[in-house]
């Protein structure tokens, strides 16, 4: 019981005995929407919102704050200047009350507890603290970032043997030991400047070109201090000592890589891995990173762009590794991403949608190379957490790995006789982006698509019918329509009912008007710029997309925090009123856009 409450209530600061006292004094009550708590209400004290939402207002009825789960407040009280006059329940709330007498006693006895509640203002600070980004990477200790696999040589070793050893170990420096004592350091630069440039024989002892008695730094120093020292003195390599003994080496690139929380460096790390397993290990921290970004208020579309950039980097690296194994490509080709990766709109849990476009001069005997590469890369992606596509939209499927001319034939066939199956595929297929190889192939295919689609009203009408098939989850009176049963009862599928219809709308207009952009927001902007869509409609749709994606991201983060697998289902009841209203507005915008689309592309057909 104590553990449970310690986890759910803001009592972490209390010692065990005081916690017991607090627990046995607690009273739990439930308040329906519209209930009001005032200074004169019975049972004064600290109220903790366990669920629901509460508005705090002052005597002039000005809104002071809106509280959600885990936050606490005191109404009225002796120093009422510091406290709100009224609390209004805006969403059915479960409140845990710590009676005033116990609350004040605990505050007097526990300074940390007191500070925690010292004023309503500090609550904002606490909120900030709760979302505190993990400690600045530069404050970490050196010993966690240094390399400990050291190359040590004797001063009498020849320059050539040292250079060989460095090449073999793929390091850029060696430490010269004399009688187990650090006598000097020799780097790539020393070999170049002091040996090769001076035309010294390769048998010269390394002691002659080393930097003697190099400066060292203690392993307990912070990365910041290390960086400062190295920048000041212009060092690229610095030996590290622990208790006066040689313990490791730190280089400028180690320092850069220590900043793992930065997506740019994550991408860089990915490109350094030698195996799919290595990449997978790097990506295990990805959900944690997404949490940090979300808590730092990064917007959903930025998160999507970064996640997609990471997927791109993983794909490129896997292709490079496969090429290293299989030998160079026998003909020009292009690795192409489809669907959300192409649109740069991925969130966590995306599966792979990809294909290969081969140059038309690829000969039949080249086919095994491309098939083998597809196998390698798709298996690698699956290992790295991008599961195989259920619909087999993957380079490993023969029909998704074809020469350009055959791809173009497929497009002509699909657009000429749009069967329902073809129309379903189009929604994935017509969003495409070159990831690796000859991007011209991808551009040529896209040009064919736009040309075939924009001239073909029957095809566009078929696409429109498909778009109109998935309606936003709003019933009459704008009530949310939720799943009726199954695992996701009472929830709305944000992806299927929100993101996909909206993406479909933007794609349909773009195909009709030959817009080359693939990203939904860019498509909407281009459509407005070329006056195919009113500026207001374009902005509304973009806002709707952001709103839904934001809720989707937040939901995924909540699931991550609970230790659940992220999915796209959200119970609107669990949202604060304002967010729920925004979501409702977003779905209404989609609904209106669908109605407009019906008039444009299916006039007289339905």
């Amino acid at each position: 019981m104590a553990d449970f409450l310690r986890q759910t209530l803001p009592f972490q600061e209390l010692p065990a005995a005081a916690l017991e006292e607090a627990l046995s004094a607690l009273r739990i009550s439930y308040h329906v929407q519209g209930s009001i708590l005032e200074a004169a209400s019975p049972h004064p004290g600290l109220r903790i919102v366990r669920s629901g939402a509460v508005d705090l207002r002052d005597r002039d009825n000005t809104l002071l704050d809106r509280l959600g789960e885990g936050e606490s407040f005191v109404v009225g009280g002796p120093d009422s200047s510091q406290h709100p006059a009224r609390a209004i329940v805006i969403e059915d709330a479960l409140l845990y009350l710590l009676p005033a007498a116990t609350f004040h006693r605990l505050r007097q006895q526990n300074r940390a507890f007191d500070r925690h509640f010292s004023s309503q203002r500090s609550r904002h600070l606490r909120r900030a603290a709760r979302h505190r980004p993990p400690g600045n990477a530069l404050q970490q200790k050196l010993r966690d970032s240094m390399s400990t696999a050291l190359l040590t040589v004797a001063g009498s070793d020849s320059v050539q043997s040292v250079a060989r050893a460095m090449a073999k170990r793929r390091v850029s420096s060696a430490l010269v030991l004399e009688n187990d004592r650090l006598a000097g350091i020799v780097t790539d630069r020393d070999l170049r400047v002091r040996c090769v440039a001076e035309a010294l024989p390769s048998s010269t002892p390394v002691a002659a070109i080393m930097t003697p008695n190099p400066e060292t730094i203690d392993a307990g120093s912070s990365l910041f201090d290390t960086l400062l020292l190295m920048t000041r003195r212009g060092y690229h390599h610095l030996p590290v000592t622990e208790d006066g003994r040689l313990a490791g080496m730190i280089t400028t690139s180690d320092l850069i890589l220590a900043r793992q929380d930065d997506p740019v460096y994550l991408v860089q790390h990915i490109s350094r891995q030698d195996s799919a397993a290595g990449i997978r290990n790097l990506l295990t921290g990805l959900p944690q990173l997404v949490l940090q970004w979300q808590q730092a208020d990064m917007r959903a579309q930025q998160v999507s762009r970064i996640l997609t950039a990471i997927t791109d980097a993983v794909t490129v690296r896997l292709i490079q590794l496969a090429e290293a194994k299989l030998g160079p490509a026998p003909a020009a080709w292009c690795w192409t991403a489809f669907g959300s990766q192409a649109r740069a709109e991925q969130l966590l849990g995306a599966d792979q949608d990809n294909g290969m476009i081969l140059a038309d001069d690829a000969a039949p005997e080249h086919a095994p190379w491309f098939a083998a590469l597809a196998q390698e890369v798709c298996a690698g992606l699956n290992l790295c957490g991008y599961p195989y596509c259920n619909g087999e939209v993957m380079a490993t499927t023969d029909s998704w790995r074809q020469p350009l001319a055959r791809w173009q034939d497929t497009v002509r066939r699909w657009t000429a006789s749009p069967s329902p199956a073809a129309v379903m595929r189009v929604s994935i297929f017509f969003d495409l982006r070159a990831i690796y190889g000859d991007a011209g192939l991808c551009t040529a295919l896209q040009a064919t698509m736009l040309q075939q689609a924009s001239n073909n009203t029957i095809f566009l009408a078929a696409l429109a019918a498909n778009v109109l098939d998935s309606r936003p989850p709003l019933g009459i009176f704008r009530r949310f329509v939720v799943e009726r049963d199954g695992e996701h009862r009472d929830a709305v599928d944000l992806k299927k009912r929100g993101v996909l219809p909206l993406t479909d709308i933007a794609r349909l207009h773009s195909l009709a008007h030959r817009i080359e952009a693939v990203n939904t927001e860019e498509r909407l902007q281009a459509l407005a710029r070329e006056r195919h869509l009113a500026m207001g409609d374009s902005r509304n749709l973009a806002d709707a997309l952001h709103c839904i994606q934001q809720q989707r991201l937040q939901q995924q983060c909540r699931q991550l925090l609970r230790g659940d697998k992220p999915d796209n289902f959200l119970n609107p009841r669990g949202l604060p009123t304002m967010a729920r209203e925004q979501l409702r507005d977003a779905f209404t915008i989609i609904d209106q856009a669908q109605a407009a689309l019906r008039l444009t592309y299916r006039a007289g057909l339905d």
Binding site: M1, F4, T8, L23, S24, A25, L26, R27, I28, S29, Y30, H31, V32, H43, R50, S51, G52, E69, E91, D92, L94, L97, D485, R489, D490, R562, N571, R573, G574
Partner: protein, 216 residues
Amino acid sequence: MWLALRRLRWARRVAATPLQACWRQPLPDRHRDWRAGSFLVCDGEMSSLDPARGELLSLGWVAIANGAIELASARHQLLASERGVGHSATIHQITDRDLADAPAPATAMAALLQAAAGRVLVFHHARLDLAYLNRLSHRLYGAPLLLPVVDTLELERARQQRRGHPIPAAALTLQACRARYGLPAHGAHNALLDALATAELLLAQIAHRSNRRGRT
């Protein structure tokens, strides 16, 4: 009223037992406002879903007075087991070792009856818990409990039926009922935490009942 009459039949058997002491307290007034009622919300963990074969392993309870749960009243009691917990340990995490030092069922039962005196007992899915408690009561005192009982599951079923909603069984689990009132998820499987979760559900049900009456 019926409860008082039925108790008469067993009055002689329960003489000088904790059950008799509990019966001596006046029954809660059925016509009083729900919001002011006194409740004792209970939950038990059992070694089997079949009362004929299983045993009561633990009891948790917490009281509601004047519309609020009072955590000071919360108790968690393990009961000494005669047959061992078997495979059920995977669900409630109670092992034979935990129960080695547990008090005899009579002790736990006496504590429960003392807390229940003058209150309405509340369970989620009362039938199962009551089957166990009545068996135990018969064994200890030679009579069934005959205490006033409210079942949050039945309250919810009635509410859904009034609104004309179809009710699949899964929709009446404690978790699903709580979710319908916006109460937070609770993952624990411990008699006391389940009792607390049930108590919060009852508060929500009462609040929405009186709210509805207030409006019409």
